[in-house]
């Protein structure tokens, strides 16, 4: 029973407590660059999740065979292979999205989250836990990306395009702030979201501390 509990914990871990983007603040390069539209954020999240889960699985399977001195280059090649697979399949099935995401699809290979998880987690844990952790981390990353890109898209274009369907029809009444879809908007949005999350956890921990104070 505890093994299942452990798996669930590993999975849940990546989504809120250790959300890679908003908590550990890793892997920001793609997050800032392509989060101008919610579909971009979604597909980038899916690509990262696939690479993360795949590489975690393979790395935890072959972790015994790799001598430590050449560990980093081997892991990097494994991750690069999965990234190229995603790059090719996306080019075949989603050519437009592939062109929009541009060089940020191959750049997933240097994404700090993937190598970090491969190193701290996959190379030390059994395969199943690694896969579950990869999924959790990937989902957390996708969630964060979707949140950021929808905020930027709504504020920047007064509309939200989900799979071709314009959610707000002719567009929201306000005049869109074009800066939100430009680089400065990306920095500020991510900064404010991380700040809001800090505020929430700080308030929760302070409330927990007061409760504990009241009890002792």
């Amino acid at each position: 029973m505890s093994r299942l509990r452990k798996l669930v914990d590993d999975f849940r871990n990546g989504i809120i407590p250790e959300n890679p983007l908003l908590r550990l603040v890793l892997g920001m390069c793609p997050a800032l660059a392509i989060s101008t539209a919610v579909m971009n954020g979604f597909w980038m999240g899916v690509a990262v999740t696939f690479v993360l889960t795949g590489s975690n699985l393979l790395i935890s399977l072959i972790r015994g065979l790799i001598p430590s001195r050449v560990r980093i280059p081997c892991f990097i090649v494994v991750i690069a292979t999965f990234v190229t697979v995603v790059d090719l399949t996306m080019n075949a099935f989603l050519p437009e999205m592939h062109q929009i995401l541009g060089i940020f699809v191959p750049l997933i290979v240097v994404n700090c989250i993937i190598l970090a998880r491969a190193e701290t987690f996959a190379s030390r844990k059994p395969a199943l836990n690694s896969v579950v952790d990869g999924l959790g981390m990937g989902l957390g990353f996708t969630l964060a990306l979707v949140i950021i890109s929808s905020i930027r898209e709504i504020l920047g274009t007064a509309n939200l395009v989900v799979a071709g369907w314009r959610v707000f029809g002719a567009g929201l009444p306000f005049n869109p702030a074009q800066v939100m879809v430009m680089p400065p908007g990306a920095f500020v949005t991510l900064g404010l979201i991380v700040g809001a999350l800090n505020l929430a956890t700080r308030r929760r921990s302070r409330r927990a501390a007061c409760r504990e104070e009241a009890r002792s």
């Binding site: 001598p67 090649v77 494994v78 075949a92 050519p95 541009g102 274009t157």
Partner: protein, 182 residues
């Protein structure tokens, strides 16, 4: 000696495995990519030059060499009469390259213009160059060089993107004139 032999071997095998997997994937996906691209092109050509029944690739015509922006040239025919020529032109937009299909009919005036492929202009402003409202202004224009104000209205707040399409149409018209003179 054993240690410094094992390291390269391990790395080499991992690389070789990776090469194997990727070649397989590439094999599968490259056919798909080619098929999809051909399909998209055919659809684009039909949309831009509906009257033409068949299209013949004329991209290797020497006169085209003078226009580096032109990637492909397709001559549209109904029966054996030339109905018009479609140029696939790539120009520099605000957010990156913009690919435009410029169809010029037999009389030398623009039949239709479409923006193809992904557009990385500023969402909400630049992306409006794909809308018919902007593109249909070009239909019927003839004598290059076309300019904003006289022949066509640019999209407010997206001058770079609008200019990319304007340049593409001008290139198409000049190329057609050069081809016609042949």
């Amino acid at each position: 000696m054993k240690e410094s032999l094992r390291l390269p071997l391990v790395l080499a095998t991992v690389c070789a495995l990776s090469a194997g997997i990727l070649t397989l994937t590439h094999g599968v996906t490259s056919e798909l990519i080619a098929a999809r691209a051909a399909e998209a092109l055919a659809a684009g050509l039909r949309e831009v030059l509906p009257e033409a029944e068949t299209f013949h690739d004329r991209s290797d015509v020497p006169a085209i060499a003078a226009f580096p922006e032109i990637g492909q040239v397709h001559e549209g025919r109904r029966g054996d009469a030339v109905v018009g020529v479609v140029f696939r032109v790539t120009t520099a937009g605000y957010g990156g390259p913009v690919e435009v299909l410029v169809a010029v009919d037999a009389t030398g005036s623009v039949a239709a213009v479409r923006v193809v492929g992904a557009v990385r202009e500023t969402p909400g402003l630049g992306t409006r160059i794909t809308e018919r409202e902007f593109l249909d202004q070009f239909t019927g224009t003839a004598r290059p060089p076309l300019t904003f104000g006289r022949d066509v209205q640019a999209i407010t707040g997206a001058t770079d993107s609008s200019r990319a399409v304007l340049d593409a149409v001008n290139v198409g018209l000049k190329a057609h004139a050069a081809l016609g003179a042949r």
